[in-house]
Amino acid sequence: MIPIIGAMLLILIIGLVATIALDERHSRAIATAASLVVLVIVISVLFNSLLTGNIVHSEQYAYYLPSLNVAFEMQFTPISFALLLMASIVSLAAIYAGNIEKESPKASSALLLLFEFAAIGLFTSANFLLFFIFWDIGVVVLFFMIYLFGSAGRKRAAIKFLIYEILASSLLLLGILMIYFYTPLHSFDLSYIALNFHLVSQGVQSLIFLILFFAFLINMPVFPVHLWLPDAHTEASTQGSMALSGILTKFGGYGMLLLFATIPIASSFSYYVAILAIISAFYAAFVLMRQHDIKRVVAYTTIVEMSIILIGIASLDSFGTYGAAYGMLAHGFAVAMLFLAAGSVGHLFADRDIREVKGVITTSLSTAYTFLIGTFATTGVPLTAAFIGDILIFSGAQSAFGNIGLLPLGALLITGAFMYFVINKSFLSAKDSSKNVNYIGLSQKVGFGILMLAIIIFGILPFMILKLFT
């Protein structure tokens, strides 16, 4: 068997070294090439698995901590593969198109490559220790991304982000250590834990569940621990926002999926989790309506979407679980596209306030339509990928929680209504349009294209991923 995962990680590291070592002029091109090679590998694996009907694949390398019996073990599972696919596409778009401001391409490309490395490692890790290691690398890289390339208030936002995220990772570390020592034959291995964790006493299981639940909740983020997200997005650069919302929030979502899949006691908490998710969705939707900054608006849609995904995960139903995975895939593309469009607006007009910016469509057709399609994609309009995700999530939630499970649709409705209001007010209104101070380049348009294509393809041909699940 070819060590595909090892090869992907190695390519990213080689790309990273080349980006740092070579001249600043070439850094974006090298980083794009490395990311593109990884994407090609991922797509070929996808096609191969469509032909053979099997995605499961694992690789094992040297021992990391021999005394704890931890090795570098990597694996694909259907769900992790879906997220891996999303991460590689979004990373490519962010590296190639995200640097609209053209600010120190070397450092930002290098950081994004390292982040892609962390994301791919996290989604493919076969034990909780590697999961934690890649998680922390991702968090630290994004901290620097926000701090180095953000706008004026970036210092405060970066510190806030770091405090929330390190709290999450401290809890995560505690949780995985407890899992290790309470599992009968001390192990970090995901599949072993899933098989044997029912042997652990109920009280310990509940404690571990709550610790890990809060860790992932902070990262997702879901009300009431979402406060880092809007600030981080407002201050981060376009690339930072794309990576943050597109990929980093999925770390928490994927962790939450693993948590509900491995710890049996989770089923007794699922009802409370669903209630929390519903509250969070409505809360974020209401706060959303008071925002003026386009990036902040998009940031709050992330919270709404992640709450909906949480209800899918909590349903513990195969529809809900697969829907959550598919929803995360769809949301990654959609939100990265929205942030790219929002960043373009900020660059075009040096302003992102929806009360000030008018008539984006007369200045940049592509930006306006991208934002429109991104809105379709977040609100789950048919033929976009999010539609498939939402259908699955809500059918799962309905069967698990009854009609209460359908309540977040209301939040989605509010979000959609406000987003169309924003589009109407700022993007599509052709009269008294604002003067632009800058132009956007071809690479942004290519970036729009890559993400739009992904949204449409996975909206029309969902079986490519869904076939893997079943």
């Binding site: 901590l65 021999p66 690398i137 630290v140 510190i159 405090i163 390190i166 401290s170 505690l174 020592f181």
Partner: protein
């Protein structure tokens, strides 16, 4: 009659240790700084190689019933020789009088090696005292303004030695040869032995900068020249932990339960003290002084775990922290000369010297415990050793501390990468070399820690006698 083949490397090691001392004394008279740097580096490298050879071959020899060459001692001789090599290199430029410094370093080194080798309480007290005295002189040879930290260090060391002497007197009746080999099990729980144990703990805690015996340590660290601070926190403090290993896990092995409780308490208060006080520091050197106090608290977690796993974790973290703190103080020493001292002064270091900023960032991330750096592996082993010994609460408190520490390290990182126009600062080759070695080691052993863990486990198992 010992076979000749096993005695040869040990003789070579002892000869090298003596040679290092002689070369230091000779440097005082010859006063050739460059030659001395080369000679002492070569001898230290030779010590490192020979002791690693002895370690790998598992040679076990007792010399005169006072010293014992066995994997535990050779492990720490190798560790300390690396640390001394780095400090020596750093001091070449930043010490006012390098030949005199060399002599004192040779004495400090022999103190550290004596403690690592010792199999007798007399040797331990002797080694610790010679080390503390020569370090105090190292501070004072730099000028009049250094009298205060030197005196503070001297007084602390004197108190520690006095208390340790009293502790030795208390167990003299059970252990008339003052050997480290266990005291009779019949005496377990007697008042004298328990009191002696506590006094030893106090005295060594004073040497190891453990709260509440450390209140002068930040003054000493801040007041002393940077290269001596690197020595103090990188070597001297770690030697105290080695002495703790020898005294508590061999001599007092029958009182493990009490030991665990004592170290649990010391560890928790030290971590909280170091981290909370570090939050409000403005001077970077003082910040690192408190940070290294909190790190001493983490190292004590392994003692509280009181198991082979705990010893292994502590030994790993001793090595990791030695490397990290010497790297950090290398940068601090270098910037101190340019009058860059507070966190605000560190602004835009990322532009003024990208190498220094990147190295300090990596070192601080490693101190926080971010994977895949060496500090993460150390902390991970420590926390899991606590949980495996059933001390879940200790692990939780340690993780809370880790979380608190993020704030002050991040403050320095943020300051270094703030946007401000500034002129570049040139960096000497000594600092560059130290940083390169440290950064390479913390990345390499963070990704592939297996050799160090295996070695630490082996050292720990020979300490416990199996």
């Amino acid at each position: 009659m010992l076979p000749a083949i096993s005695i040869t490397p040990v003789t070579a090691l002892i000869a090298l240790l003596v040679l290092f001392l002689i070369s230091g004394i000779a440097a005082m008279f010859l006063r050739k700084a460059k030659a001395q740097l080369a000679i002492s580096s070569i001898i230290l490298l030779a010590i490192f190689s020979v002791s690693s050879y002895i370690f790998i071959h598992g040679i076990n020899v007792t010399i005169l019933q006072v010293f014992k060459v066995y994997p535990f001692s050779t492990f720490f001789i190798s560790v300390f020789s690396v640390g001394l090599l780095l400090v020596n290199m750093l001091s070449y430029r930043y010490s006012k009088d390098f030949p005199s410094f060399s002599m004192l370093l040779a004495f400090t080194a022999s103190g550290a090696f004596i403690v690592a080798l010792s199999f007798s309480l007399i040797a331990i007290i002797f080694g610790i005292e010679i080390m503390a005295l020569s370090t105090a002189f190292m501070i004072i040879i730099n000028g009049k303004q250094y009298v205060e930290p030197a005196v503070k260090l001297f007084v602390l060391a004197a108190i520690a030695v006095a208390v340790m002497g009293f502790a030795m007197a208390l167990i003299f009746q059970y252990d008339p040869q003052l050997s480290i080999g266990q005291i009779p099990a019949a005496s377990v729980g007697t008042y004298f032995v328990l009191l002696s144990l506590l006094l030893f703990a106090g005295a060594l805690a004073m040497e190891g900068a453990v709260f509440p015996f450390n209140l002068w340590i930040p003054d000493v660290y801040q007041g002393a020249p940077g290269n001596v601070t690197a020595l103090l926190s990188g070597i001297n403090k770690k030697v105290a932990f080695v002495a703790m290993f020898e005294i508590f896990f061999v001599l007092f092995i029958n009182n493990l339960q009490l030991l665990s409780t004592v170290f649990l308490a010391l560890s928790v208060v030290t971590m909280f003290f170091g981290n909370i006080v570090a939050l409000v520091q403005e001077n970077v050197k003082r910040l690192f002084a408190y940070s290294s106090i909190s790190q001493a608290g983490y190292i004590l977690i392994g003692f509280a775990a009181a198991s082979l796993y705990g010893i292994e974790a502590s030994a790993f973290q001793i090595l990791a922290h030695m490397l990290m703190i010497i790297g950090a103080f290398a940068i601090i020493t270098w910037l101190e000369q340019k009058n860059i001292k507070t966190i605000d002064d560190y602004a835009a270091l990322g532009r003024r010297s990208p190498l220094a900023a990147l190295s300090l960032t990596l070192i601080m991330l490693s101190l926080i415990g971010v994977p895949p750096l060496m500090g993460f592996v150390g902390k991970f082993l420590l926390f899991s050793s606590a949980i495996s010994s059933g001390l879940l609460a200790l692990a939780v408190l340690a993780i809370i501390n880790s979380f608190i520490s993020v704030y002050y390290y991040a403050k320095v990182i943020l300051s270094m990468y703030s946007r401000k126009e500034a002129k570049p600062i040139p960096m000497g080759w000594e600092v560059k070399a130290v940083l390169l070695i440290v950064v390479a080691a913390i990345i390499l052993f963070g990704i592939y820690p297996q050799p160090i863990i295996t070695a630490a486990t082996y050292a720990g198992s020979t300490l416990l006698g199996y």
